[in-house]
């Protein structure tokens, strides 16, 4: 039996995405007992996850009220916190997973994990250095936070961190029979009454609200989209909202534009899965509802706006799609959004409607406005990656994102199959050779710096005065981690390992650094092999295409 504690101190959507990992763990190991630690204000999401034995909470609001309010002694705050955490500490955990990877969850993991071997993800050592349980933790903590592209999404990374095979099937959410019956009855009624003769009617749910206004689909876009859907015989829109006065007012304002004839479905977290099970397609910005739809395999079109971390936390269902302004023109985090501002390219109702037609009506062409892209989740052996299905893209960014995934597979000696190489060679041709050439130059550069560092390290054995040179060389090598080239990935991992070194003597440190440098050398060579593989694959595919074309034209002549 395995008692596993997953610490997730993030918001509703992030808590829902935990369900993928919970499902995989309990399917692979039915004896596993999973407990989820969340902030109490978000426990309504956690309580809806299947296969979670216990939802444990920290009442952050209570503790903050004690702490921030001058009338209450800070003693109450720290005592309440201690009491709530101590209840958790008193249980015996076989594994503590630092899922949310923020400072609070990391310190809690350090406090709750009672040995060096029972944590997953980063915790702090007694010397307050970040301690990873595996190299996948380093990918999560260092590569995904720093490298400009996203080679792998969070859900897949968690699976690799836990060393558990991802299982797609299974009931990941708790639903209620009464909600299911009610949703089916009501939506079926709409189907029967609104269907036109000889036509198939698709119910399209439109999620109106997110917690951040920059992520919302603009009101005008929703109005025009609803109008288009109503005018088409094959679709019927329903508005989806949470039971709050703000959302009710917004839905009412939209409905007023249609003489109050629209159907609005108000559903809390308990009921919304039942509603989503009965729609044919969900249109949504980046919200918790998107994650719920993903868990119950409802096809979804995500409109990714504002600071939505599309590649890190995008949809996983292969029947879903993600519509976004071109990725090189937009931000993916709040910090970047403040720095860069929003993309100048806007998603219109025409773009959404064209995509709906493609998804539901088998239309073969998608017409998108300038500066937009449509991504599809696809599977490979490492998990889910995103490929551009239509629209514009920045060639270098696109290729770097896909090749960085292949680099990751190579670094972990993971047999990732052929999908990425096929994707790159089928989507791009020799136009990417200049980019690959630059990457090879970066490899050469990094290798030179690495060999220089090794040389100066070996010289410190003979002459301790050479330490300054060695440190200098090492600093130069570590600067490679800040570049946007593929070599940054192994250097980021190397940097993390260096920072975590815990040697008791100078001589021991030197030995460990030397060993890490040789590992890095091997890893950089793997990056080079990856680049070569892509080049060769493109050349081979080009050769095949040319031969095919030649043989076709020979046949014609004959």
């Amino acid at each position: 039996m395995s008692n596993i504690l997953i610490i997730n101190l993030k918001r509703f959507g992030d808590i829902y995405s935990t369900a993928h990992l919970v499902n995989s763990i309990t399917t692979n190991n039915p004896q596993a007992k999973i407990s989820l630690l969340v902030y109490k204000e978000f426990d309504s999401a956690a309580l809806n996850l299947s296969n979670v034995q216990e939802v444990l909470t920290i009442d952050r609001k209570q503790i903050l009220t004690y702490k921030k309010n001058d009338i209450f002694s800070d003693g109450f705050a720290i005592d309440a916190f201690y009491g709530q955490v101590q209840e958790i500490k008193n249980k015996a955990w076989d594994k503590v997973l630092n899922y949310s990877n923020d400072p609070v969850s990391t310190y809690l993991t350090s406090y709750l994990s009672n040995s060096d071997n029972n944590h997953v993800g980063i915790k702090y050592s007694n010397k307050l250095t970040a301690k990873a349980s595996s190299d996948w933790d380093i990918v999560f903590n260092d590569v995904l936070t720093t490298f400009p592209e996203t080679p792998i999404n969070f859900v897949d990374t968690y699976h690799h961190m836990m060393n558990v095979e991802k299982i797609r099937d299974g009931q990941k959410l708790v639903t209620s029979t009464s909600h299911n019956e009610s949703a089916f009855k009501n939506i079926n009624f709409i189907r029967k009454t609104e269907v036109k003769e000889g036509k198939n009617l698709n119910i399209v749910g439109i999620q109106l609200f997110t917690s951040q206004k920059e992520k919302n689909i603009p009101r005008e876009t929703i109005l025009k989209l609803v109008k288009k859907l109503l005018e088409a015989d094959e679709y019927y829109p329903i508005l989806l909202l949470a039971p709050t006065s703000e959302e009710r007012n917004y839905a009412a304002a939209i409905n007023e534009e249609f003489e109050n004839k629209l159907v609005s479905v108000e559903a809390d977290f308990k009921a919304i899965p039942s509603v989503l099970l009965n729609v044919d397609l969900l249109i949504t910005p980046d919200t918790a509802v998107k994650h719920i739809a993903d868990l119950i395999d409802t096809p979804t079109l995500e409109i990714s706006l504002g600071a939505s971390p599309m590649f890190k936390q995008g949809l996983l269902n292969e029947s879903s799609l993600i519509l976004t302004p071109r990725v090189d023109t937009r931000a993916f985090s709040k910090k970047d959004l403040v720095k860069k501002g929003d993309s100048c390219f806007k998603v219109s109702s025409k773009d959404i409607f064209s995509t709906i037609e493609f998804m539901l009506n088998n239309k073969s062409e998608i017409t998108l406005s300038k500066g937009l892209s449509l991504y599809r989740p696809q599977l490979d052996k490492m998990g889910t990656f995103y490929s551009c299905l239509a629209g514009e893209y920045n060639l270098e960014k696109e290729v770097r994102r896909l090749t960085s995934r292949q680099v990751l597979a190579n670094l972990f000696e993971f047999d990732n199959g052929d999908q990425i190489l096929y994707k790159i060679s089928s989507s791009f041709s020799s136009e990417i050779f200049p980019y690959l050439k630059e990457e090879k130059a970066s490899v050469t550069d990094a290798t030179k710096k690495l060999l220089g560092t090794l040389r100066s390290l070996l010289q410190t054995n003979e002459n301790k005065k050479k330490i300054a040179d060695f440190v200098n060389s090492l600093d130069h090598l570590l600067l490679e981690a800040d570049k946007s080239s593929l070599t940054a990935i192994p250097v980021l991992m190397f940097r993390s390992r260096i920072e975590a070194l815990d040697s008791s003597s100078f001589e021991e440190s030197i030995k460990e650094v030397e060993s890490l440098l040789y590992e890095l050398k091997t890893d950089i060579q793997k990056v080079y092999s990856c680049i070569k593989d892509i080049e060769l694959r493109i050349l081979d595919d080009n050769k095949e295409r040319l031969q095919e074309r030649y043989s076709q034209s020979s046949q014609v002549q004959a």
Partner: protein
């Protein structure tokens, strides 16, 4: 043990209202109507009807002889059944004791804090956890005016921040001992910043807990998964 009264009382007598109900008179101030204390109590509670319909926790400043508390109980029972709590704060022990000879309040629903110093009230964990749930507040006008300084002190109270003092409000012995050993700091935040955050080596697991607490109470914005730790 000598109990120091938090208020200054120089006279106390009990009179009878026109409707035969008893009325305490403290420092020559009648705490209820000498004509019809029940009607006065009903009027008071009706004035707060909206908030009493919305909330099940009620904080009453001043007990007197409790007629308004009886009315409040009746109102709350009607709207919330048995699911309500009333806490009454009154600085005058003598009046409270006499009130309890007249009324038998169910301790399941009504708790009275009588003759307590302000600091002692704010050290009571049950009262404090009641207060953070934001109860409805009903001042009994006559009591509130008579004991104005007392209730003003209650409403403007500021808890002491010194680490040695906050230990008085910590139930856990282990935690109390841990913080007390670092008690020279001005406050908890400073203690964590100066004595825990600066450590090069963690020698007590509670250090991790302090650091978690510090981040949780300082970082009010949601921290996305970002920034290598």
């Amino acid at each position: 043990m000598v109990h120091v009264s938090p208020i200054d009382v120089h006279s106390y007598e009990i009179k009878t209202a026109k409707t035969d109900f008893k009325v305490p008179v403290v420092n020559e101030v009648h705490l209820h109507s000498v004509y019809n204390p029940i009607k006065e109590a009903t009027t008071l509670i009706n004035k707060h009807a909206d908030v009493l319909k919305a909330k099940t926790d009620v904080l009453i400043f001043g007990l007197g002889f409790g007629y308004h508390v009886v009315e409040a109980i009746s109102f709350l029972k009607e709207h919330h059944g048995d699911d309500f709590r009333i806490i009454v704060i009154d600085p005058n022990n003598d009046v409270v004791n006499d009130c309890l000879k007249i009324h038998n309040f169910d301790p399941k629903n009504v708790i009275i804090y009588s003759g307590e110093q302000i600091e002692s009230l704010y050290s009571d964990v049950n009262l404090v956890s009641f207060l953070i749930d934001k109860p409805a507040v009903i001042p009994h006008p006559a009591s509130f005016n008579l004991y104005g300084d007392y209730f003003k002190s209650f409403l403007t109270y500021k808890a002491k921040k010194q680490t040695a003092t906050i230990c008085n409000n910590i139930q856990s012995e282990i935690l109390r001992e841990y913080i007390f050993t670092k008690s020279e700091e001005e406050n908890l935040e400073l203690m964590i910043d100066e004595q825990v955050q600066t450590k090069r080596h963690i020698d007590n697991d509670l250090d991790f807990l302090m650091l978690a607490f510090n981040h949780m109470t300082k970082d009010r914005n949601e921290t996305p998964i970002s920034g290598a730790l």
